[in-house]
């Protein structure tokens, strides 16, 4: 539901009253549409709002936030409209004589009950989204992300690409951070190895950490989850469109907390299959890496078991 759709219908209804003048009607529709377009262009991809949502959950979050903003704005205008009217009119300097009322049970009950109702309206869609976010069951693929001070490790545990394993570190050179070189476009949001996933697939990310608590956050996909040493948590996402989505560690993890970004590269299915095959071929070529992988796979089955247990508890 778009917040402007009501206004637009409002404009249309108005025009029906005005008459059959098609010109006015189409002009109004056009205006409504352009207002909508302007509004969307302002909101989506703007630096005043969430990044453009790239998953169902991110879209839900985006929409709920917009609805809440409108509700807050309405309450704000209501309360401060009354207060500022009072501030302007009920002044001693204007000779206004103070009234002496000091309570009204009816009014007080009304303004206790109405906020409760508004809260119910807010809570309903949020509850649905929470339940959807928490449902990590039957994923198309499972990846383990491990937080280290200060980088991420990714292990593809199940699904296409199973067995791929790599670290992902900040790629921005120190010279840029220390202001000795001009900063690049993706300053601090670029890594040596992107996390690559196929578009549209339900990807379950199992999270843990090696040392301290980190948090894995990709705003456009609507996922943020703490990675806790010794414990396993999971989240899921399914990216709507191919592209590169950037995020950062969101839990203070020491000196280089600001320097361990997350980059998710979403590919079309064929491109992903190709990437996975190349990656696997490259890793099986190096024997030492392969033995590490065997160890990793043993770890992986343990991790999956533990995560499933964890999901049951949740």
């Amino acid at each position: 539901m778009h917040p402007f759709s009501e206004i637009e219908t409002g404009i249309k209804n108005c025009n029906n009253h005005v008459g059959e003048n098609m010109k006015i009607k189409s002009v109004a529709t056009l205006m409504g549409m352009s207002a909508l377009a302007f509004y969307s262009s302002m909101a989506v991809g703007s630096k005043y709002n969430f990044p453009e949502p790239q998953s169902v959950i991110a879209q839900d979050i985006y929409d709920q936030h917009i609805v809440l903003l409108w509700i807050c704005l309405a309450i704000f205008v209501g309360v401060f409209g009354v207060m500022f009217y009072s501030i302007l009119k009920h002044r001693k300097s204007l000779g206004y004589k103070a009234a002496n009322f000091h309570h009204s049970t009816t009014v007080e009950i009304i303004w206790t009950v109405i906020p409760c109702l508004i809260l119910v309206v807010m809570a309903l869609p949020a509850t649905k989204t929470v339940i959807a976010m928490k449902d990590t069951s039957s994923p198309d693929m499972t990846i383990k992300a491990t937080g280290y001070q200060w980088m991420w490790g990714y292990d593809y545990l199940e699904g296409e690409g199973e067995g791929i394993s790599f670290y992902s570190k900040l790629a921005t050179p120190m010279a840029q951070i220390e202001n000795r070189e001009a900063k690049g476009d993706n300053y601090l949001l670029e890594v040596d190895n992107n996390l690559v996933v196929p578009v549209g697939k339900k990807v379950r990310v199992i999270l843990t950490a090696n040392d301290v608590i980190h948090a894995w956050w990709v705003p456009a996909l609507g996922v943020k989850q703490d990675a806790i040493p010794g414990f396993i948590r999971d989240v899921w996402f399914a990216a709507d469109n191919p592209g590169i989505y950037r995020g950062q560690c969101a839990e203070l993890c020491g000196k280089d907390h600001g320097f361990m970004p997350i980059v998710v590269e979403v590919l079309e299915e064929e491109a992903y299959a190709q990437w996975a095959a190349e990656k696997l071929a490259a890793s099986s070529g190096a024997s030492q890496v392969a033995s590490a992988n065997i160890e990793m796979i043993a770890d992986a089955s343990e991790a999956i078991e533990a995560a499933e247990e964890n999901s049951e508890n949740n």
Binding site: K183, F231, G247, L252
Partner: protein, 532 residues
């Protein structure tokens, strides 16, 4: 002072007290102790403010310029700890010391010597905190919430912080016990609980919260200390412990703590608004009930700080609903203040300006609070600048603005001198403008994806960070004006009339001379309740 006020008294008690440093070291007078609390918190406010300026200077532009990342983390950590435990909380205790006895018609606090002891613990703790910057390994750098395992990694600075928190906690518990005992036992004859001024009510409830949660904090930091040095594994998964357990215990303290910092401001604002509206407070009893409901609810919402830590769905929903419910009593308060102003005969001296500024900005902080309560949205904004903006709207333009309102409101009673109204208004407007410049844009930064506690950031965040830093420098400078105004008032302010605020109705204005004598209400006043 004794010579000035001696003639006010018609009783035999003498006002003589030691002068110079020994007066402050040995005093058991609630006014002296209140004064020390207030000066101490002001000093800490500038110390924490200095750290804030350092943070904003580093964040002025992308790249590392002034503070290396580890030092930056120490700055944010100590900024938080010093502002919460050193500036805001002691300032409210200072107000309680000055005002609670005078507002209930009591001669002093119930435990006068303990009162002095709870004050003098504070400079010791502050010294530990500030000097930890200079020990090997530097000050604690794990955030003011010092989550393990990160906080198990730090050096001596972390231990100093733990001891400082212990001492501050002990001080707060003693202060709270003192306030509860004073309010419950020493009210003027005839003053029932439901006759007490709201400032006293809010402090009574706050003090109960303090007694409830400060021992929990003490327990948490003790567990952290034994994890660090004595081989326990409370928060260490490798030893069978749980790092998330720390977060649960910490926030069981931490969330009531934020109400500890806001409830007394509700009290101050509830005194100032009726005075300058020349009209009784609207809905006195619903104000009391709302305060109590907020306090009770604040104990069952802690895990909303941990929505991204991973919790069962049912737990997330419970904490979301409970958190949202807090909006109801908070809304009642805002509506009551508005109704108090409605059809009043308002005037807009500095205390009133700060009180209105408080309501206006606190409501914005309340809105962002409701938005943060919604789990799916919180998943996005948790640990971002959105949260930084949210809690500075409730702590700076909330707690701090209310403290300013209270300081301007009561300074004539305390010193017998008036502050400079023009300068006071200037202080208000500068604070108002620069505060919003600093923090409003941080909402956008958070939404756009800037995490908190980072010393450097991606280029798309550069514009708003620069604006925010400029605002912060302006806000910092504006507070120097506050110190100037206060010192000018104390030294050379115009003599205050007996009752500078014609709308004031509480005992300190109606039953005591201005300035208040060193010993007030040695004989309890005759109290006639007004209708609520």
């Amino acid at each position: 002072m004794a010579a000035v006020h001696g003639d006010v008294h018609d009783h035999g008690h003498d006002d003589h007290h030691p002068t110079g440093i020994s007066r402050w070291l040995t005093t058991t007078n609630h006014k002296d102790i209140g004064t020390m609390y207030l000066w101490f918190s002001l000093a800490m406010f500038f110390t924490g403010g200095f750290l804030a300026m350092g943070i904003r200077a580093e964040l002025f532009q992308p790249g590392i310029q002034i503070l290396e990342p580890e030092l930056f983390n120490s700055f944010t950590t100590l900024h938080g700890l010093i502002m919460v435990f050193g500036a805001i909380m002691p300032a409210f205790v200072g107000f309680a010391n000055w005002q609670v006895p005078m507002m209930i018609g009591a001669p002093d606090m119930a435990f006068a010597r303990m009162n002095l002891w709870s004050f003098w613990l504070l400079p010791i703790a502050a010294t530990l905190l500030v000097s930890s910057f200079f020990v090997p390994g530097g000050a604690a750098a794990g955030g003011w919430t010092f989550y393990p395992p990160l906080s198990t990694q730090g050096g001596l600075g972390v231990d100093m912080m733990i001891f400082a928190v212990h001492i501050l906690g002990a001080s707060s518990i003693m202060g709270a016990i003192n306030i509860i005992t004073t309010i419950l036992n020493m009210r003027a004859p005839g003053m029932k609980l439901m006759d007490m001024p709201l400032f006293v009510w809010t402090w009574l409830i706050t003090a109960y919260l303090l007694v409830l949660v400060m021992p929990v904090l003490a327990g948490t930091v003790t567990m952290l200390l034994t994890d660090r040095h004595f081989g326990t594994s409370f928060f260490n998964a490798a030893g069978g412990g749980d790092p998330v357990l720390f977060q649960h215990i910490f926030w069981f303290f931490g969330h009531p703590e934020v109400y500890i910092m806001i409830l007394p401001s509700f009290g101050i604002v509830s005194e100032v608004i009726p005075t300058f509206s020349r009209k009784p407070l609207f809905g006195y009893s619903s104000m009391v009930y709302a305060t109590a409901s907020i306090a009770i609810l604040s104990c069952v919402v802690w895990a909303h700080h941990m929505f991204t830590a991973g919790m069962p769905t049912v737990a997330q929903l419970f904490f979301m609903y409970a958190t949202m419910l807090i909006a109801v009593p908070t809304g009642v308060k805002v509506f009551n203040w508005t109704a108090t102003m409605w059809q009043g005969a308002m005037s807009f001296e500095t205390p009133m300006l700060f009180a209105i500024g408080f309501i206006f900005l606190f409501v914005i902080g309340g809105f962002s609070g409701v938005i943060c309560a919604i789990v799916p949205i919180d998943i996005q904004v948790q640990d971002t600048y959105y949260v930084i903006a949210h809690f500075h709207y409730v702590l700076v333009s909330g707690s701090l603005f209310a403290l300013f309102a209270g300081a301007y409101y009561w300074i004539p009673k305390w010193t017998g001198r008036m502050y400079d109204e023009k300068l006071g208004k200037l202080h208000f407007w500068l604070s108002m403008i620069f505060f919003n410049l600093t923090f409003f844009v941080q909402h956008f930064l958070g939404l756009a994806g800037m995490p908190r506690r980072i010393p450097d950031y991606a280029l798309q965040f550069a514009d708003f960070n620069m604006i925010s830093s400029i605002g912060a420098f302006g806000f910092g400078l504006s507070q120097v004006l506050f110190v100037y105004i206060m010192i000018k008032t104390i030294r050379s302010g115009e003599k205050a009339p007996e009752k500078p605020w014609d709308g004031a109705t509480t005992l300190e204005w109606t039953h005591l001379p201005t300035p208040a004598p060193y010993h007030s209400f040695e004989k309890p006043p005759v109290f006639k309740p007004t209708v609520h």
